[in-house]
């Protein structure tokens, strides 16, 4: 029987009075490239920590390829590789030693060295294999952290904010390698603040808010549901007419972003501005993206996501 890669059934988690997770039900099939999105405090990391066996759910269950993460934790963890969000490392050892140790914890000996070499190569760590972990730069430490999660060749890989604070080169190298792993059959679950990454890479997206999943669909379907265009006008410091102001999605440094559902609205906005004597300095028209979907569902108070997306 072909079990789903991840099956989450009615998971609740409370920390005292705080309800971090409020009944999560989610199934991720084998071979998927899945994005789990949500603002800070939505419960993504709590869910991943329960999946990894680092915390126990208050109620509910999670299984990895049919193995319960609590009751059959050995089998479940054997199939799972988790890249933690925090940049942690062991200062006593070099990169290759750490990877050998990590594979060894999963019962793999020297026969796994070929795979370790492949991971080192794929993540651009081959020339740092004998460098002590504490001597690596931040970006290299991040690569080593990812390599450690992959050391036992897990079929299900969870990447919790793997590209937070890393440069463009590493991001591209990492995604090329992860895409290859996905093509080879590994299931990838990704949480990221970079919504363009999720949109480009993931075939399905789950969005979380306040411990619940508020959207779950293929990336294409989500974009279709929230189809529309973005009109970015550079207007300077002006006071907009009321009928136009209701379409404003975002304002920054005199640049107004209008969310439009129909092309006809472009003419309406421009005419209204002209009638009010407001001069358009610059104009740009963009397709709606995952950020629009995210902001529509989760609310636009999450500046982190906007900033991260703009930084790309």
């Amino acid at each position: 029987m072909n079990h789903p890669a991840i099956h989450i059934n009615g998971v609740h988690k409370s920390f005292g009075a705080l309800h971090a997770l409020n009944g999560i039900d989610l199934t991720i099939e084998q071979g998927e490239f899945f994005a789990l999105l949500g603002p800070n405090g939505a419960g993504k990391s709590t869910l991943i920590n329960i999946l990894a066996g680092l915390i126990a759910p208050t109620t509910g269950s999670i299984s990895v390829m049919g193995f319960d993460v609590q009751k059959q934790y050995q089998q479940a963890r054997q199939l799972l590789g988790v890249v933690p969000q925090e940049l942690v490392f062991d200062p006593f050892f070099n990169v290759r030693e750490m990877l050998r140790f990590q594979a060894g914890y999963f019962g793999l000996g020297r026969e796994n060295d070929t795979w370790v070499d492949e991971v080192l190569e794929g993540l651009g760590l081959a020339d740092k294999a004998h460098t002590n972990m504490r001597k690596l730069s931040g970006g290299m430490k991040r690569r080593a952290l990812i390599a450690q999660a992959l050391a036992h060749k897990p079929p299900v890989i969870v990447l919790d904010e793997p590209t937070a604070g890393v440069d463009v080169e590493l991001r591209q190298m990492l995604w090329e390698f992860i895409k290859k792993l996905n093509c080879d059959g590994h299931t990838i679950i990704l949480t990221t603040h970079y919504l363009e990454e999720a949109e480009t890479l993931c075939s399905r997206v789950g969005m979380m808010k306040q411990g619940k999943i508020v959207a779950l669909d293929t990336t294409a379907n989500l974009l279709n549901k929230f189809s529309g265009k973005h009109l970015r006008l550079t207007l300077g410091d002006v006071s907009l007419p009321n009928d136009v102001e209701r379409l404003v999605r975002h304002v920054e440094n005199g640049i107004y972003t209008f969310a439009l559902t129909d092309m006809i609205q472009i003419e309406f906005v421009l005419a209204s501005l002209r009638a009010s004597g407001i001069k358009v300095i610059d104009m740009q028209l963009n397709e709606a993206d995952l950020e629009d979907v995210f902001l529509s569902l989760v609310g636009n108070e999450n500046a982190d996501y906007q900033l991260a997306s703009q930084a790309l």
Binding site: Q30, G31, A52, G53, L54, I55, A56, Y73, Q74, Q75, R77, Q78, L79, L80, V82, P84, E86, V88, F89, D90, P91, F92, F93, E97, M98, R100, F101, Q102, G104, Y105, F106, G107, L108, G109, Q148, A149, H152, K153, P155, C183, D184, G185, H186
Partner: protein, 266 residues
């Protein structure tokens, strides 16, 4: 999607590789800094030996026919074994917790028993390596007799196991380095200094003799010393029983803590 070749479930061979790897990592961890973890405690013990033997050797005789320096050496060896077994497991755990790299072990299929055994054996080995080094260096000063080698082995193993286990408890419980220092300064040091390393408890007033009998370090050091001289303050079998029972109790507490994920899996 390609059909992914997955590493098979743990079999009898691979299930041993996991705990063996953790043990190997723990051994390498202290060996990489052996100047601090082995050489330093050996030097400290030798300084105690030089100073106390120089001051007291001509003035104090605890057992008939046994010079004070000879009396002192087994106590110093055992004290160092105990302190270093505790230091090994406790410092490894608190460092891993504070730095966050404990997660690399927590994400693996290792059972709580395998985790315990790896940390325990590493602590025993470090304790015994330090003890052996002190013994070998002390041989330059005094020709120690050995009355009962099995008692030396039994108390060396059980004592280091007991303190290694206590170190695991301390490492799990403590969240900060100052909490760990409190364990060292307010529990380990007083108990080891007041355990009869430097004196026989028969030289104490009756009240403090009774208090000393409540100190498990006393039984470990007295039993270990019995292995060298064939005499001690209490029966070595009683000491063995108390140390063995203490180890079993602490080991059960530790296993329960690890199984429940106390302070490790919140």
């Amino acid at each position: 999607m390609k059909d992914l070749k997955v590493n098979g479930p743990l079999n009898s061979r691979s299930s041993w590789i996991g705990p063996w790897t953790l043990l190997k990592k723990e051994l390498l961890r202290f060996w990489r800094v052996s100047f601090q973890t082995v050489a330093a405690p050996v030097i400290t013990a030798l300084l105690y030996l030089l100073i106390f033997s120089h001051v007291l050797d001509k003035h104090v005789q605890v057992y008939d026919g046994v010079a004070y320096t000879e009396f002192l050496i087994p106590g110093l060896i055992m004290m160092s074994v105990l302190q270093n077994a505790f230091a090994n497991s406790s410092s490894s755990l608190i460092q891993s917790k504070v730095m966050g790299n404990i997660v690399f072990v927590l994400l693996t299929p290792l059972t709580h028993l395998q985790f315990f055994m790896a940390f325990l054996i590493a602590a025993i080995i470090r304790g015994l390596v330090v003890g052996l080094c002190i013994y070998l260096v002390a041989m330059w000063f005094v020709d120690l007799t050995v009355a009962n080698p099995w008692m030396i082995v039994a108390f060396g193993l059980l004592g280091s196991a007991l303190l290694g286990t206590f170190g695991i408890i301390a490492g799990i419980w403590a969240d900060r380095f100052d909490q760990m220092a409190a364990f060292q300064n307010f529990i380990i040091m007083p108990l080891s200094f007041l355990s009869g390393v430097f004196y026989s408890i028969h030289s104490l007033p009756p009240f403090w003799q009774q208090v000393s009998h409540l100190n498990p370090f006393f039984y470990m050091i007295d039993g270990f010393r019995y292995g060298f001289f064939g005499k001690g303050d209490v029966s070595p079998l009683l000491s063995l029983l108390i140390v063995g029972a203490s180890f079993v109790v602490l080991a059960l507490i530790t296993l329960k803590m690890l199984k429940s994920g106390y302070k490790l899996r919140s």
